[in-house]
């Protein structure tokens, strides 16, 4: 008898509307991500991806419905529960005047890590992400790709159980993109669940096992990429995306 995989993230009837906005940004959303999964949330600009990401991280509070992280409701969880997830925002989220080491020292401490652990993890991360040579230089002097890697390193310094990635490869060259995707796969092999948003279909095909298409705050379809392409008789994700979300500008 097959054992059903444990749930890492479960959204139930989740809705959210910004103050003054005529329509909700997230509408009655149901979604489940299993432990150890690489899950992609795809959608056009303004579909509600970043809003959902902010709800998952506790930056916004749901209007209705619930978010369960490892079976604990976020609204009832303590602040220490935040240790279980890592967040890599779309915008650079670090102090540009500080070096990668200084940023990692500070954010590591705020994740509750001890000094020796931070030092060890920083060394490891800087090596993996190719930042060792510039570890003491101010991040503001870095290229876009290097800044993306610093952004990612901070999000994973505490080895979270689930990692929320909001378009982590925006504005980077192919080499950096490949390096980031390879590292994310490595993290997944180490047991970290990935919840990833993007509108880059090729990248999603490469990284994700399962995806959901979101548009106007609602999940349009979800499932494994193979299954979705098969069901909709499409050859690649981009064509499926256009078929389901249309060709008009969305933002």
């Amino acid at each position: 008898m097959a054992v059903e995989a444990e749930s890492a993230l479960k959204l139930d009837k989740l809705s959210f509307q910004y103050k003054g906005s005529p329509a909700p940004s997230i509408k009655d959303l149901h979604l489940e991500v299993r432990k150890g999964e690489r899950f992609g949330l795809l959608g056009p600009n303004g579909a509600g991806k970043t809003t959902l990401m902010h709800l998952l991280c506790g930056l916004l509070l749901p209007g209705s419905g619930s978010i369960k992280l490892f079976d604990t409701d976020l609204s009832e969880s303590k602040i220490s529960h935040r240790k279980r997830f890592g967040f890599v925002p779309q915008d650079f989220s670090f102090y540009p005047e500080l070096s990668p080491v200084e940023n990692l020292n500070f954010f590591g401490a705020w994740y509750g890590l001890k000094q020796d652990r931070i030092m060890k993890r920083s060394k490891e991360l800087l090596h993996i992400l190719g930042l060792t040579e510039v570890k003491d230089k101010a991040v503001k002097t870095f290229s876009g790709g290097m800044k993306r890697r610093v952004n990612l390193a901070i999000g994973v310094i505490h080895k979270p159980q689930i990692l929320f990635l909001d378009e982590p490869t925006v504005g980077v060259d192919v080499q950096t993109r490949n390096a980031i995707i390879a590292y994310l796969k490595q993290l997944n092999r180490d047991g970290i669940t990935l919840f990833y948003t993007s509108h880059q279909m090729k990248e999603a095909e490469e990284l994700c096992e399962r995806i959901a298409l979101i548009d106007e705050g609602k999940i349009v379809v979800s499932g494994s990429i193979f299954q979705l392409l098969n069901d909709n008789k499409e050859q690649d994700l981009e064509k499926l995306f256009l078929k389901l979300t249309g060709k008009d500008f969305r933002d």
Binding site: C57, G58, L59, L61, I79, S80, H81, R82, K83, F85, F87, P89, D91, F92, S93, F94, Y95, E97, L98, E102, N105, F106, F107, G108, A109, W110, Y111, G112, K114, Q115, A138, I154, G155
Partner: protein, 425 residues
Amino acid sequence: MYKLYATLRKDLLLLLRDKVGITFIFIMPVILVLIITSIQNSAFDIVNNNKVPVLISNQDNGEAAVQFLDALDKIGLFELHLLRDSVNPVDLAARMHQEDALLAITIPIGFSERVSKRAVITANKAFQILETPESKSTQPLVSDTVILYYHPVLQDNYRLNIQNGLHSALKMVETKQILKVVYQSLNEDANVQQVDEDIFKSGIDVLEVPVSRGGIKTIPNATQHNIPAWTIFAMFFIVISLGSSLVKEKLSGSHLRLKTLPTNYLISLVSKLILYTGVCLGQVLVIFSLGVWLFPHIGLPALNLPQDLFGLFLVSLISALCAVSYAICIGVYARTQEQANGFGAVSIVILAAIGGILVPAFAMPEAFRSFMAISPLHWSLESYYGLFLEGGKLSDVWGNLLPLLAITFILQILAFAGLKKNNLI
């Protein structure tokens, strides 16, 4: 504790790398204190140590006119420059500009004769009263006018001081003339000169003693006034650096990440409170050190530190805490750096003005004085003045420190409420 240590370290590094912020915090107040103290010290010198140049157009040259000039010279306020030729008012004004004189006096023709006549009339009145007390002289007194021309730059209180000097010299002349008539009427052989000297040499001296607590007799000077005042201003001006740094952090991506971490944002504020209070105390140390060690070498009076050094530290610490709390409050409520900088700077200038930093409290209109209590700078200044100018101790300035602590507490509550409202804590 490690979280707080890491946050303090991060804030210190950010501060040290913010060159403009450091300039605002340390260099600007030093320049401000140097300039203002030098200007005020020079103004004190003009008023206290220098004689005022006066052009004299003596169109009379009689005995009373000479006595008047002699009396003016003896007062010690004036440096007399006698004009040889008789000049009209237009020429006199031109000469004032040419010779950089702030004052000019014209003694009109017939001045001595009129003073003499007036003396005779006054003396006769006195004799009549002595002979028949009920008699009343009907002879009118002869009036006269000495014209004083002044440069409009002279302040009212300074001009009043000069007028008092002139009146005192004129009274001396008139009294001398009356006494001369009286002596000559009584005894033609009397040595008028000798009696004059005896009468006009006052046997009663005025001993000036500055009133201070604890028997301290340090005479207040521009340094004692300005260093505490502008140090407070500098401490509160930290709003420019701290307020805008808080807003900058709030608007930056790093803040977004901080809100997702398993640490209360209050740690960030506590770190800023500790670091910037230390920075304010650093400002105090730098500015006071300049006053003590640098000022005497550049011709300014040295700063005399109060006897109660612990009191000085505590006043500085509470003032610093209040200044940082104010900056944090502005940082919490401002939505943009422009708002924080603009409102922060203008509000500090206003609070400094109503607090007695820019204008002495006694010179303020009555209506403004009632607003003083809301300015934390006022309570801070009063506490410092209690120590620096009055020679007081901590026990003497507690009455000023308590309102300062109350304002600090209110600012902290407001900042806390703002963070709570914005879901930051």
